[in-house]
Amino acid sequence: MFGARPVNLFLLCAGLMVLSGCSSSATWGWYVINPSTPTGWTNIKFLIGGMGDTILISLIAAALSITIGLLVALPGLSDRWYIRIWNRVYVEFVRSIPLLPMLFWVFYGLPIIFRSMGLNIPIDPFWGAIITLAISDSAFTAEIYRAGIQSIAKGQTEAAQTVGLRYVQTMRYVILPQAIRRILPPLANQFIYIVKMSAFASVIGMQELTRRANELVVTEYRPLEIYSLLILEYLVLVLIISAGVRWLERRMGSDERG
């Protein structure tokens, strides 16, 4: 099924035990997130209601990142330095920008550039977060692709060329299908990174998981309970992704034998 590893289940149980362990003392107030009371239930629905946006932002950002990453990686594999240099410039530049400043730049700065160019492209928190996450992550996915593709022997490209395949066909039918098995695990780690970093979207007003937790803390004054639940929410998301990746890897593994 989910194929959760014992260690992950252990983490989940430990988290729940910490919560319930505190529940008898005055430091812990179940009521804020107690599903059996109307207030608690409303709060929980409010908090978990951010799940959709967190997942959507992460998924779209990841899809963009693996696309941009591939486009950035390919020039990095050229044997001509003046093509390769574009890859290096992009990767080194993007990799050195911290996420939060980039988010501010995209959300507050980019629309000004658009306006000065006479374009009316508003950037809402949703797309601001996605663009930032995608670009920031693409520098890493580009490096993952580059390493994965380089690990495929040169003889494969040569053999493909001698049966008349062009560059794009060689990538698509010969190199990427082999490289993907080595690329997938580190790409999955990057996806987990995106999910976690999507919490930054809260600071530009995106009502995803973290923002909702912050808002509820302001009205309920119960940071311990609410942030504990928030952490659990991310933990569950990451566990589901890990399980999905392991399932995918197993499937690919069984394709390989054959």
Partner: protein, 243 residues
């Protein structure tokens, strides 16, 4: 007189400062079989790789069927077949898929046409029963025969072999050479880099001996083996024929 299939005129190549090919002149007629030999590092692979554009030369001209070659190997459109020492089969594809990929993607054959052609050539290299296996499940000799069939599926006029049996266990060499002899008998234009002198005597129209980036000696096999003119060639032949 047969048409010229491959012509190299004053070809020079450098790897950085290293002058790897020095004024190579070679003319191969259509249907001709040329065997290239020479010590390791003498530039044999580089000659073959320049012909199919896996390497680019810096000076001189290479013409294939009368047309000047361009920079990119894919512009040859698979006109020149190549069999590598290390087979270089596509490990993620079945034998059949290895054979149909080129014809389907670069020649525009339908799957059915490509598969029919693939099975035909698998028959020719005598492994029709292996069509649905992965390369890793085959022996070295079988893998190299698949590689030959993959190249044949492109139905090129010229085939290059770069030490096709050097990576094989001794007992598998002959099954590959037998297939190559058959191809030669059918009139395929071939350039074969090999140290299998028995094969060379049987099929070669022209022998080429290379040393230190130069073509030192060429000639028909009878003369080449019985009365090599150059000292370097004599030494080389006495070394490889002695074991």
């Amino acid at each position: 007189m047969a048409e010229t299939a491959i012509e190299m005129v004053g070809v020079n190549k450098w790897f950085g400062d290293f002058h790897v090919l020095k004024d190579i002149n070679l003319s191969v007629a259509e249907g001709e079989r040329v065997v290239v030999c020479g010590p390791s590092g003498s530039g044999k692979s580089t000659v073959v790789r320049c012909i199919n554009r896996l390497e680019l030369h810096q000076k001189g001209a290479i013409r294939i069927n009368g047309a000047q070659v361009t920079e990119r190997p894919e512009d040859l459109g698979g006109e020149v077949g190549m069999v590598f020492q290390q087979f270089n089969l596509f490990p993620h594809l079945t034998v059949l898929q290895n054979l149909t990929l080129g014809p389907m993607k670069s020649r525009g054959l339908s799957r059915a046409e490509a598969e029919a052609r693939a099975r035909h050539y698998l028959e020719r290299v005598r492994i029709p029963e292996q069509a649905d296996k992965r390369p890793a499940q085959l022996s070295g000799g079988q893998q190299q025969r698949v590689a030959i069939a993959r190249s044949l599926c492109m139905e090129q006029k010229v085939m290059l072999f770069d030490e096709p049996t050097s990576a094989l266990d001794p007992e598998m060499i002959s099954e590959v050479l037998d297939v190559m002899v058959e191809l030669a008998e059918e009139g395929m234009t071939m350039i074969v880099v090999t140290h299998e002198m028995g094969f060379a005597r049987k099929v070669a129209d022209q022998m080429v001996f290379m040393d230190a980036g130069e073509i030192v000696e060429t000639g028909p096999p009878a003369e080449f083996f019985e009365a090599p003119k150059s000292k370097r060639c004599q030494t080389f032949l006495s070394q490889i024929l002695s074991h």
